[in-house]
């Protein structure tokens, strides 16, 4: 990336962060709720992007993990335990469950994980609905309290939004670190050429399992924030539909791209609010758009953008190669 490009990217990033921090100051209760929901869904989508976009596995259980996180947080905080503990529990629990689910499924064939997660999704819903002693069944758990952060109350929409935004920021940094690490490289190898990866000693099964477990843990984290956001959890929020919506978000944004989930969550959470009049039809249109995108550009909006930028810089690259090849005994043509 050239110097100018890099500076431009940093400036754009700073502008976005500034907007996310300052614009909400002038938003009302509802606008803040939607933005908070966007940040929570982004976290879940980031997790699914790791599983799908980086490790190439389809998980139809992300919604269930959000549900597990939400119920864990609701049950614990209503009982007076701090949200931080609930978040830690949710993350750990979802990681372990993800590992246990993925272990047998990935041992077999890769597309089996989709079916196992589909089955698990239904199972989770059944538990949420039936185990009244724990989850209050169809009545749900209401009055989920908002936490106190360093003594400051987040009962009001604005402070709670900042909590969500902060968490999203932490997740972003952690994910960035992960992608740049040897693990991230291994994940990309899994996606691009699993056979070669194997021959280089990459334990593809273990890395795939890790990606799925971490992705599920992020779903749990999102759920643990969702509970105090909505202040109410019930089984109908965490059905297969949520999993499918999250999947579509990741696809539309661009699966395998770092910023895909944020974009995808925006299209799935923010846009329908602005297009309120089309509410009933929105999901239909969205699903059709997903199908069209998959046909023409399986890598989503960011994929289309990337391809455009790459075509432009491809000319620059071949010029670079030609110039470099001038003084060395290399071939100049493929």
């Amino acid at each position: 990336m050239t110097r100018a490009r890099r500076l431009l990217a940093i400036a754009a990033g700073a502008a976005v962060v500034a907007a996310l921090v300052f614009v909400p100051l002038s938003l009302g209760r509802y606008g803040l709720y939607i933005l908070s929901l966007w940040s929570v869904m982004s976290i879940a989508a980031i997790g699914l992007n790791l599983t799908l976009g980086y490790a190439g596995q389809v998980s139809l259980a992300q919604g269930a993990f959000v549900g597990i996180g939400a119920y864990a947080a609701a049950i614990m905080t209503v009982d007076g335990l701090p949200l931080s503990l609930a978040v830690a529990t949710a993350v750990a629990l979802c990681f372990v469950v993800g590992w246990l689910l993925g272990y047998p499924a990935l041992r077999v064939q890769h597309h089996y994980l989709a079916f196992v997660t589909l089955a698990f999704s239904t199972l989770a819903f059944l538990v949420f609905r039936n185990e009244e002693w724990l989850t209050n069944g169809v009545y749900g758990i209401s009055g989920v309290p908002r936490p106190k952060v360093f003594g400051l109350s987040t009962t009001q929409p604005l402070p709670f939004y900042y909590l969500c935004l902060f968490t999203l920021g932490v997740v972003t940094l952690a994910f960035w670190r992960l992608v740049r690490s040897p693990w991230g490289r291994a994940f990309m190898a899994l996606r691009e050429n699993p056979m070669r990866a194997l021959s280089l000693g990459v334990d593809t099964r273990r890395y795939t399992l890790m990606a799925f477990a971490i992705g599920s843990a992020l779903g749990g984290l999102a759920g643990a924030l969702y509970a105090p956001l909505a202040e109410f959890v019930d089984p109908t929020s965490f059905t297969l539909s949520l999993s499918l919506n999250l999947l579509m978000m990741v696809i539309v944004g661009g699966s395998g791209y770092f910023f895909g989930p944020y974009l995808g969550a925006m299209t799935a959470v923010l846009l329908p609010e602005w297009l309120r009049f089309a509410q009933g039809y929105y999901l239909i249109v969205y699903a059709v758009v997903v199908m069209a995108l998959l046909t023409y550009s399986p890598t989503g909006i960011l994929g289309i953008l990337d391809r455009y930028l790459r075509d432009r810089s491809a000319k620059a690259a071949s010029a670079l190669r030609a110039a470099a090849g001038a003084g060395l005994p290399d071939e100049t043509a493929s």
């Binding site: 040897p182 693990w183 990309m188 990459v202 470099a324 060395l328 005994p329």
Partner: protein, 247 residues
């Protein structure tokens, strides 16, 4: 002299057909062994059986005396066996340097240490060295998919050496490479054999490449070993000549 690789009575049957029918040979430390033979003689199948890509029907494969028959490729790799592929297999979207780091990273530390350690797994310098050695410095940060075919072949070979392997199996490294590049590749392989003491096995069609690179050659035909020995002796062996002319 230690025998790095020993193959004994290897057989691989597909249904009723024996693609590999009782193949035995060995490779000494620091040797460059060539395996040649007409199309369909079972060279690639033998390779795949050694590497764990296929499970042999019968026979034994030993690495440094230890039995490794049918072991999974990832485990074999950790024991120090690496390979190149006939059909290019680099990671197109990763840069050249990233490809090399990836090739070596699984041998550094544990999975957990790799998560919390430096982003390049401590292999940045080694990768740069390898890039310099294979004369790819000007391409180090470009995505591997953008390299020319010959350059990708060099990268492929470089990747096989990143982990400092005990044994490298090269599957048709000369395929599709033009003569100038070929001379380069041969020279680099000889250099790395000298300097790292790496042991190679090379499957090739290109007779000239094999004869000038390898100290010892195994000739296969119809799943069996036909002849074995230094290139000159093998080249003038009448059974070998017939096998090649007969096809």
């Amino acid at each position: 002299m230690t025998r790095v690789l020993e193959v004994a009575n290897l057989r691989k049957r597909f249904g009723g057909i024996a693609a590999v029918d009782g193949v035995s040979f060995h490779v000494d430390e620091g040797e460059i062994l060539g395996i040649i033979g007409p199309n369909g003689c079972g060279k690639s199948t033998t390779f795949n059986c050694i590497l764990g890509q296929l499970a042999p029907t019968e026979g034994e494969v030993r690495l440094d005396g230890k039995v490794v028959t049918g072991m999974r490729p990832s485990r074999l790799n950790r024991l120090g066996v690496s390979r190149t592929f006939q059909l290019l297999q680099v990671f197109p979207q990763l840069s050249v340097r990233e490809n090399l780091i990836l090739a070596g990273q699984e041998h550094k530390g544990t999975m957990l240490s790799r998560l919390f350690g430096p982003p390049d797994a401590g292999l940045g310098a080694a990768a740069d060295q390898m890039i310099g050695f294979f004369k790819l410095s000007h391409l180090a940060d470009l995505p591997a998919g953008g390299l020319s075919y010959g350059q990708q072949k060099l990268l492929d070979a470089a990747m096989a050496f990143m982990a400092g392997p005990r044994l490298v199996l090269l599957d048709e490294p000369a395929g599709g490479v033009n003569p100038t590049m070929l001379a380069d590749l041969k020279e680099r392989l000889r250099a790395i054999n000298r300097e790292q003491g790496a042991t190679f096995v090379v499957i090739e069609h290109n007779m000239e490449f094999v004869m000038s690179l390898c100290a010892r050659v195994v000739v296969m035909a119809e799943g069996k070993v036909l002849a074995e020995g230094p290139p000159d002796k093998v080249r003038s062996d009448p059974t070998v000549i017939e096998a090649y002319l007969g096809h």
